[in-house]
């Protein structure tokens, strides 16, 4: 039998063929998007009308001039420092507890039964799944209004994130130094302190710094539910329609985030050199 010079042209599979995955996926996506728009009673008319545009313009206009009186600036500075402290302490707590939980959540050598691995990972996932703001709203009941609730909320969520990252880092680190110590009869704690930890420490620190950057953003808005910092000031003055003060708080928020971004960028560049 003679072979065709060119491979024969193959038609694409028919629509109801299992291989038309792309088509079905596209149809499902289209359905999801149109259902979303259809089921939400979006008030485009209210938003796109001339009236709405005017009210938006008036609203933005009220932001100017921002309130720059020394007394208020001092208040904003205190709130910024509170936000910064919340994020730093929350990340620190999370790093400590994350490390503590990462130990049972990781299997570091072959003979390790690691019974606690699955339940600890479940706990870490649950901590991670609930956003900071939801934690803060729940914690207000037991910790009261103020930055303490916010700090704990950041700590809980970030513990879930960091615990999991730390556990993966430890499982993926080279096992030879730990094996060498274990073969000499060194106990589990000292194996961790002198073999595993020194190897993964730079990675753990860079994860924690990265999360700190995220937590600054989170800490700035946590206050909206009453958990202290710039967010609380923002929600308070916006609720009273004091737009000049709101503008100052917003500007402080942006400055804080930008400053931390720049700082962490410089730190990372210095560390990687």
């Amino acid at each position: 039998m003679k072979q065709a010079a060119n491979t024969p042209y193959r038609l694409p599979p028919t629509i109801f063929h299992a291989r038309s995955k792309g088509l079905w996926f596209g149809a499902a996506l289209l359905a999801l998007v149109s259902l979303s728009f259809w089921s939400l009673d979006l008030q485009w008319r209210a938003f796109l009308s001339l009236e709405a545009a005017q009210s938006m313009a008036r609203f933005v206009g009220e932001f100017f001039p921002p309130d720059l009186s020394p007394a208020f600036l001092r208040k904003v500075a205190v709130a910024s420092w509170e936000t910064l402290a919340m994020s730093a302490l929350g990340t620190l707590l999370a790093a400590a507890f994350g490390l503590l939980l990462a130990l049972p959540a990781s299997r570091t050598h072959e003979g390790d039964p690691a019974h606690a691995r699955a339940p600890t990972r479940l706990l870490l996932n649950a901590l991670r799944a609930v956003p900071e703001l939801v934690w803060a709203a729940l914690l207000l009941i037991s910790a009261g209004l103020g930055p303490f609730a916010g700090t704990l909320a950041l700590g809980l969520h970030t513990t879930g994130v960091l615990g999991r990252l730390f556990a993966e880092a430890m499982e993926n680190s080279p096992h030879a130094p730990a094996e060498a110590l274990r073969a000499q009869g060194v106990g589990a704690l000292r194996v961790f302190l002198y073999a595993t930890l020194p190897q993964v420490l730079p990675q753990l620190v860079s994860y924690a710094l990265y999360r700190w950057e995220n937590n600054i953003r989170a800490a700035a808005i946590l206050g909206v539910v009453g958990a202290g910092g710039l967010g609380q000031l923002l929600a308070f003055h916006m609720g009273l329609f004091q737009m000049g003060k709101t503008a100052t708080v917003l500007a402080a928020m942006l400055l804080l985030v930008a400053a931390v971004d720049a700082l962490s960028y410089l730190t990372r560049r210095a560390l990687s050199r």
């Binding site: 995955k21 999801l32 998007v33 259902l35 979303s36 728009f37 089921s39 939400l40 009673d41 979006l42 008030q43 485009w44 209210a46 938003f47 709405a52 009210s55 938006m56 609203f59 420092w81 509170e82 910064l84 402290a85 919340m86 730093a88 302490l89 620190l92 996932n125 649950a126 799944a129 609930v130 956003p131 703001l133 939801v134 709203a137 729940l138 207000l140 009941i141 037991s142 910790a143 009261g144 103020g146 930055p147 303490f148 916010g150 700090t151 953003r217 700035a220 808005i221 909206v224 539910v225 202290g228 967010g231 923002l234 929600a235 916006m238 917003l250 928020m253 942006l254 985030v257 930008a258």
Partner: protein, 275 residues
């Protein structure tokens, strides 16, 4: 030969002790600023409501009307996220096309001309502004203008995520290989053609997987936006917490964790299928 004997103690001991002390000294102002008083959690006046609230968690609320309400609000949460991401694409795609340096015709022969360079930089700055304002703040602003409801949430997600997607899309397009695009442009194809036949096929998988990942993030955001009145699961959670209805909160937290896990799975599956 005592010189060969290894030291009995950790030789770096003093250094470690010093740095621990220094860290604690730095920690002190943080503890003061955050009013860090863990014993507040154990004091009598906070223990009683906490215990009552937590005791109400079991059993979670399962009466049919409430479950129906939760199901409806969960769909709203997903719908807000999906609609938000769709509108974010409307912002991000044109911004990407405008800001990608790989699609510059004047850059083919040396430096980019000053006007296009300025335009690209301006678009980039606009994206930076869009994404550096948190979505919650956008939502607070829009709630004032359009009133309570999902419109504010959708717009907030659209603006913040539009900024993020636009920036990352441009980064992805520029980090890939550009010779195919450049040769298309050099042979006289239009920018859109060069994009569709040069840049897009190379980067489609990465672009899609990033978009799916952001959709997953948007679901989490849309729950949070509910707390400022944008509707959905977050708003119900806020109401129930304020009424100390522990059993309702328990149900919604479980649904929420399940929703996030599901979105996680779907997004992981999609990204694997697309890779």
């Amino acid at each position: 030969m005592s010189g060969l004997k290894p030291p009995e103690r950790d030789p770096a001991w003093w250094g470690r002790l010093f740095w621990l002390g220094a860290a604690l000294a730095l920690l002190w102002p943080l503890l003061v600023a955050t009013e860090f008083r863990p014993w507040v959690l154990l004091s009598a006046e906070s223990r009683a409501p906490t215990a009552r609230f937590l005791a109400a968690f079991v059993p979670p609320a399962t009466n049919p009307e409430f479950l129906w309400l939760v199901a409806r609000e969960t769909w709203r949460t997903v719908a807000i996220a999906t609609a938000g991401i769709t509108l974010a694409l409307v912002v991000a795609v044109p911004a990407t096309l405008m800001s990608t340096r790989a699609l510059s015709v004047s850059a083919l022969s040396g430096r980019m001309a000053p006007l296009p360079a300025a335009l690209r930089q301006a678009v980039r700055w606009m994206l930076v502004v869009l994404r550096s304002i948190p979505e919650l703040v956008w939502a607070l602003v829009f709630v004032r203008v359009v009133g309570l409801g999902p419109t504010a949430g959708v717009l907030a997600i659209a603006l913040t995520y539009g900024g993020m997607l636009g920036k990352v899309y441009a980064d992805i397009l520029e980090s890939g290989e550009t010779p195919a695009t450049r040769s298309l442009l050099a042979n006289g194809s239009g920018r859109l053609q060069a994009f569709a036949y040069g840049l897009l096929p190379q980067n489609a998988a990465e672009l899609t997987s990033y978009t799916v990942y952001r959709w997953e993030c948007a679901i989490r955001s849309s729950v949070v936006l509910g707390f400022v009145g944008a509707g959905g699961l977050g708003q119900q959670l806020d109401n129930s917490t304020k009424m100390f209805a522990g059993s309702e909160v328990a149900t919604m937290l479980l649904v929420f964790v399940a929703l996030v896990a599901l979105a996680d799975q779907v997004s992981a599956w999609l990204r694997r299928a697309l890779a």
